[in-house]
Symmetry: C2
Subunit: 288 residues, 2 copies
């Protein structure tokens, strides 16, 4: 049970976490802070948070748990702001899709409170943004990766783990660098490919007609290109090395595919497609 929970950034993730913890009876009071006052007011109206705090520092002061649910690039500044107000028992966690750069920022910003910071990343979300899009079931049966480091206080880790489990999620711990490599491959790479595809098509002659003829496959494929641009800018900058490495591998493989089409190598193409289909069909027992 969390006494006072401070959500900094009451959007899809922060809002859904608050909703889920309330629904589970796992929190007494939820205070919220964020840049957009209209969004915060909506969060109050929707019953997602109990009240708005006028600053991040005030939100963090006297909170038992502070959740930073912000774009990756805003984390460092926010940590610097709240650091002076954190009590010795306050636990801080984040939900960023990148862990290496956030852990380094926290180490610098939080100083002696750094052991009470637990780096976290719920593997959940969709292309929508804002508290309106939040819902209590977002994390149910999803994984939340926690990436504690050597200095992380086991009690803080336990509290963050318990919080996520109360939302219906499974928690797993993982090494920071390993998390960043896996996410570069499974999440960052597809998002960048989708953004790039939409933009490439938009630049083609007759792009209006092109988009008119986009069918279901295209819609599924590019849905993630409607995600928040600032969030994805920050992820690119925050996980640069792992993302570049994944893009390099992809671009190399795409070159091989193009060469096979160019030389009309039907056997090579069929083998690639069959191999990829087997992998895709096997994904979690073919749940789609």
């Amino acid at each position: 049970m969390i006494g006072r929970l401070a959500i900094v950034g009451v959007g899809l993730i922060g809002g859904s976490l608050a909703r889920a913890l309330r629904a589970a009876g796992a929190v007494d009071e939820v205070v919220g802070y964020g840049r957009g006052i209209a969004n915060l007011q909506r969060a109050v109206d929707l019953g997602v948070i109990d009240r708005i705090e006028s600053s991040a520092e005030r939100a963090a002061a006297a909170a038992d748990m502070v959740v930073l649910a912000l774009p990756v690039g805003s984390m460092a500044v926010m940590m610097g702001q709240i650091a002076p107000q954190l009590g010795p028992q306050t636990v801080v966690t984040d939900v960023g899709s990148v862990k290496g750069s956030i852990v380094e920022a926290a180490r610098l910003a939080l100083g002696e409170r750094f052991p009470r910071f637990v780096p976290g990343h719920p593997i959940a979300g969709n292309e929508k943004s804002g508290v309106e899009a939040s819902f209590a079931g977002l994390f149910r049966d999803r994984r939340v990766v926690l990436t504690p480091v050597a200095q992380t206080d086991p009690d803080a880790l336990e509290r963050v783990s318990a919080m996520w489990q109360a939302t219906g999620a499974q928690t797993v711990t993982m090494d920071v660098a390993h998390h960043d490599e896996i996410l570069a491959a499974t999440s960052h790479l597809p998002h960048l490919l989708a953004y790039c595809l939409v933009d490439t098509l938009a630049q083609m002659d007759g792009s209006g007609v092109i988009f008119d003829f986009a069918a279901g496959g295209f819609r599924d494929f590019t849905r993630i290109a409607a995600s928040d641009p600032v969030m994805w800018r920050d992820i690119c900058l925050g996980n640069r090395a792992a993302i570049l490495s994944a893009l390099e591998a992809y671009r190399r493989d795409l070159g091989a595919l193009m060469a096979a089409i160019d030389r009309e190598d039907g056997a090579w193409l069929q083998e690639l497609f069959a191999r990829a289909k087997r992998e895709r069909d096997a994904l979690n027992g073919g749940r789609g």
Copy 2:
């Protein structure tokens, strides 16, 4: 109203067409032919076709309308087989995702019957295959592109157009080459990118863990990589030039994206993502 309809290839598309025309009362009798006898028997059991023909020639003989719903690479051989049996009034059409190579094959194979061939392409489908996956509503409110050439008989075009309209689809006519360029961009390119992504990830160290952490975005993005490998091999070979051109443009743009990440150009990245998001959000009024 079609008297006898012959479906050659009773899979997702052929089966759904038969179902839709039956549901609309737009056909008297449906005969089917295909390579897999178990699939054909299932089509009879499901009421999709009235009976199985023992050969494509027999299916085509005495049919008013022959629909070739086969992988692109099988069209030429099949046209050669049925050509001798076609009556002077029989209309032949296809559902291939590529039109240029099919029109050339038809010109060679059908000889004096070529004017009764109407090249067609329903912009509908999903990653599933086989008659089990077929359903009557597949074409409702979807577009069907017809690409008649100078020699195409207007009466044949009218009959094929009426057939598709009876399924609830909208028909549009388009130049063959234009169709192939548009489809290379909106359909062929995303399918190839998805196949390539799944394969790139499968080759990474620890690919098992990577797929374990694949979330919703990845699932949406790669669903089309479960499509039929033979169908996509044929599309690559049949629409080679337009596909290579689209892949070239994409690979160039991906290189620019990588360069921006490498030089940590946040403004460039945010602008790209925002531009792509606007285009994606605008897609058919944001129906997703």
